[in-house]
């Protein structure tokens, strides 16, 4: 019966449409790892996202335990990966703040910390 087959496809459509929603750039992982401890201050911080990013509207800022900015201010974006170089710094808790625009025109932002030394 054709009508029943037409309605039979609805669950499939549902699956499709819901699937679309997992888009938008979210932090997949980072180096140094989120919340982890590293022995010495890293030379750069790299973030991997779930979507491709727009370089013109995607930034990272990194501050050390005193709240002083230790990043060089130049965020590099390649596909879904974004990194920034750091100036040499001391030990303590580093805070990473990110703000990205994915190529599907959505902005997302977030923050995390990692520990250096001690």
């Amino acid at each position: 019966m054709r009508i029943s087959s037409v309605f039979g496809v609805i669950p499939l459509l549902l699956l499709l449409a819901v699937g679309e929603a997992s888009a938008h750039a979210m932090l997949d992982h980072a180096e140094p790892r989120v919340g982890n401890k590293v022995a010495t201050a890293p030379r750069e911080v790299t973030l991997w996202f779930t979507q491709k990013l727009e370089p013109a509207f995607s930034t990272i800022t990194v501050t050390d335990s005193t709240g002083k900015r230790v990043d060089t201010g130049k965020t590099r974006v390649s596909g879904s990966q974004m990194s920034i170089s750091l100036r040499p710094g001391g030990s303590g808790t580093y805070r990473v703040k990110w703000h990205v625009l994915s190529t599907d025109t959505h902005t997302t932002d977030g923050r995390f910390t990692f520990q250096v030394g001690q």
Partner: protein, 319 residues
């Protein structure tokens, strides 16, 4: 649940809905003319001439609204990207940065060029190559929207598959939903023209359109399964979210459209072919026209929902 209080995104949602609908109508009109209108009216030169003039007018209106709403979309999108109020987003530096340095901007430029080529083809439509170029650019105008959406940001090889599926999804949706507008106009014109053979003309047109509809729905399903396969991981989280519920609403509207299509195909269209004695099948033709108008309204509701979904942050952020 505040689906309909979309807040600060309201203007962006509205302009996206208008833009998608206008693009779909433009594409749908040209596809309709090529595979339904022109072949169906071949035996009635006068009606065919009238129909072509109607299609041309519809295509012009579609292109004009597409371009105008496209400009406003760029403005509203730039404001959303920069996190600025609409008034403050109208600066040349922001608009130029969005145009020149984002994928949305690049796609916007390409689609604007396609719209200009399409307009030129419509202006010189009496040449055969212009007709085919018009059809190609019209399909490209809608299909290119894929690069501005979720499929345009999926990373890696999977992204190419996602894009291919979305391109076909958009083209199929435009051919079907956009084609409803010229179908309703054609059925109205056929009824008014009072040509002797009008029931067979209307039958031929609706039969061809329903074939186009079957191909479109099949394409929507196939591309839908591909997308589901790519992104199925988040199903459970989204089924319980506002985003998921809005998607379910979209699918309910789609299902109602399909139900109308089924009635048209299996109930009303066959009745056009049956002339019981001298009684002509006016009721069937009127029914088809009415259903077409209702389907257009439902189609616009789908574009409005799509316009809203694209601006929402998906529920995955909440989990």
């Amino acid at each position: 649940m505040d689906w309909f209080a979309a807040g600060e995104n309201g203007p962006l949602i509205a302009i996206r809905a208008i833009h998608f609908a206008a693009s779909a109508m433009t594409t749908g009109t040209l596809v309709f003319g090529t595979v339904v209108g022109n072949p169906a009216l071949r035996s009635e030169p006068q009606l065919a001439l009238l129909q072509r003039a109607q299609m041309l007018r519809l295509a012009w209106i579609g292109v004009a609204i597409t371009v105008l709403s496209g400009v406003i979309w760029l403005w509203f999108q730039a404001a959303a990207i920069a996190g600025l109020p609409l008034g403050e987003a109208l600066t040349s530096s922001l608009l130029l940065t969005v145009l020149n340095e984002t994928q949305f901007g690049l796609v916007w430029e390409i689609r604007t060029v396609l719209a200009i080529i399409l307009a030129a083809c419509l202006a010189y439509g009496r040449f055969v190559p212009a007709k085919w170029l018009a059809l190609a650019t019209a399909i490209g105008l809608t299909a290119a929207i894929a690069w501005t959406g979720h499929a345009g940001s999926t990373a890696g090889e999977l992204g190419k598959l996602h894009l291919a599926a979305d391109v076909l999804h958009l083209a199929a949706a435009a051919a079907w939903i956009g084609g409803l507008v010229p179908l309703v106009l054609l059925l109205t014109a056929v009824r008014r023209a009072q040509a002797v053979a009008w029931p067979s003309l209307a039958w031929e047109a609706t039969r061809r359109f329903s074939m186009l509809g079957v191909i479109s729905v099949a394409t929507l399903l196939t591309t839908g399964i591909v997308n589901a396969w790519i992104l199925v991981g988040s199903f459970h989280a989204l089924a319980t979210s506002e985003y998921g519920r809005l998607l379910i609403l979209k699918l309910v509207v789609f299902a109602i459209m399909l139900a109308f299509a089924v009635v048209n195909r299996f109930w009303l269209t066959p009745r056009l072919a049956i002339s019981s004695g001298n009684e002509l099948p006016f009721a069937a033709l009127r029914g088809l026209t009415h259903n077409g108008v209702i389907e257009i309204a439902l189609g616009f509701a789908i574009f409005a929902i799509v316009g809203m979904l694209g601006t929402m942050h998906p529920a995955t952020h909440l989990f």
